[in-house]
């Protein structure tokens, strides 16, 4: 799967060592495009907030910051667990890989549960996407991000099942690297969404 174009040669003290981009080149195109799309969404959200700061500020205070903070910790832990899985693969510690991937899957599921609780809280309070512009953005941004989490958790589950059958090794790790790179993006997006929606004052 790995193409010649993603192999880079660097000089080190020990001689010439091949260095490569994790996964395949194409997955970085998708990650880059997704990042640009989210950057457009963040910019549009900030523009909408400028037009109606009072509504955005009042609505922001109704969000559950504690749950938002817990979500951040969950995703950071998840990313760390997946990074450990890739490290273990690189070092040939194949036995440890399913354990770390399972950590990623479980934290992904925890995030989904946490988000469901948050959404049910909002619906119980009679808050809907159509309530005002802020909530439209809140449900849109967190909803699209949640779809990313669902997709990523499904991919991690697939990796976990395959890793238990020892399908991956130090030399066969392109697919896990692609999924891990995507999963780090999901984490990174939340790290921007959380302060933008929950913490930042609309001035």
């Amino acid at each position: 799967m790995s193409t010649i174009s993603n192999v880079e040669v660097v000089n080190t003290d020990q001689g010439v060592t091949p260095r490569r981009l994790p996964g395949v080149d194409g997955v970085w195109v998708a990650i880059g495009a997704d990042s640009v799309i989210f950057a457009i969404l963040f910019g549009s959200f900030m523009q909408a907030r400028l037009h109606n700061p009072a509504v955005f500020e009042a609505s922001r205070h109704t969000l559950n910051m504690n749950l938002g903070g817990v979500d951040t910790l969950i995703l950071l832990t998840s990313s760390w667990s997946v990074a450990l899985a890739i490290q273990a693969l690189k070092r040939g510690l194949v036995d440890r890989v399913p354990r770390y991937l399972l950590g990623g899957v479980l934290t992904g599921l925890m995030f989904m549960m946490s988000k469901s609780v948050e959404y049910f809280e909002k619906f119980a309070q009679g808050i809907r996407p159509a309530t005002n512009d802020f909530y439209m953005w809140y449900f849109t941004l967190t909803g699209i991000h949640l779809l990313h989490v669902v997709f990523g958790t499904s991919l991690l589950t697939y990796l976990w099942v395959r890793a238990r059958r020892r399908a991956y090794s130090c030399s066969r790790r392109v697919v896990p690297e692609c999924v891990a790179s995507y999963w780090h993006l999901v984490d990174l997006l939340w790290i921007v969404i959380f302060p933008l929606l929950y913490l930042q004052r609309a001035v």
Binding site: T3, I4, V24, D25, G26, V27, V29, A30, A33, D34, I37, I40, L41, S44, P129, A130, D133, M136, W137, T140, I144
Partner: protein
């Protein structure tokens, strides 16, 4: 010598009794960018759909819009209805390139060609609906013009999955290309997946009239449409080049029937 003789015999037996028309194939590949240019300029700018008139507009406002821009709408939409057929011819050229990866009559190549062809249907019907609204604007009640405007958008946007299947088929087949240098670059293959994913958001358009998910919103219009608008010329570039590469491959293999 024996090997040479065997390969020559094999090439001769593979030789189609019909000539491959590389020139027509390339012309069909060029119709993709022509379609995009027509849609972008005529539907987008001349017909004032970039950005679209807001979904939250009242029936009176929609009627006034169609009345004010009647002539440009008539010109742009009537030409655009015709030019939409170019997306079909482009899809035929793409399917033929896909067959060189997947094998003749491949399932995904057929899905691509059907997807591209059927994509033309909702686009043409939508343009005809808006053309009717523009043509008959002085004879119609504001509520009817509003209905035609919304009907057009619902058809135009919600038929997206036909195009999604076309894009998915293309991305899957070219990902499977075993050539050292693939016929279609990785950028386009993965951009196809981004386009595929971005289309899902437009499912929300019946439920919202403001915000990022409405039909003139940042997600449902600017992102969903522009990922597709970038994908078409990017894919066309590789398809046009692929015809030349395939011709060279055929010539090298002695498979060109002059």
């Amino acid at each position: 010598m024996a090997i040479h003789a065997e390969s020559a015999t094999s090439a001769a037996s593979d030789l189609s009794p019909y000539r491959t028309d590389y020139t027509s194939w390339k012309i069909l590949a060029w119709t993709g960018p022509v379609f995009l240019f027509a849609v972008f300029v005529l539907w987008g700018f001349v017909a004032h759909n970039m950005p679209p008139f807001p979904p939250s507009a009242t029936p009176e406002q929609v009627k006034a819009h169609f009345h004010d821009f009647r002539l440009p709408l008539l010109i742009a939409l009537s030409i655009c209805v015709t030019m939409t057929a170019f997306y079909m011819s482009f899809s035929v050229a793409v399917a033929r390139v896909m067959e060189r990866v997947e094998g003749p009559g491949g399932l995904l190549s057929k899905l691509e060609m059907m997807g591209g062809t059927i994509t033309c249907a909702p686009v043409m019907v939508t343009l005809a609906i808006w053309l009717t609204a523009a043509h008959e604007v002085d004879n119609l009640a504001p509520g009817v013009v509003h209905m035609l405007y919304w009907m057009g958008w619902l058809l135009f946007d919600l038929a997206y999955f036909v195009t999604s299947l076309q894009i998915a088929a293309i991305s899957i087949v070219f990902m499977r290309d075993k050539r050292e240098k693939k016929l279609v670059g990785q950028f386009v293959i993965w951009w196809g997946w981004v386009t595929f994913a971005s289309f899902f958001a437009v499912s929300a358009i019946p439920f919202v009239t403001t915000g990022p998910l409405c039909f003139n919103g940042v997600i449902s219009f600017w992102i969903a449409f522009f990922t597709w608008f970038i994908w078409i010329p990017s894919l066309s570039y590789y398809i046009i080049k692929a015809v030349d590469r395939i011709k060279a491959e055929d010539e090298a293999a002695g498979l060109v029937n002059n």
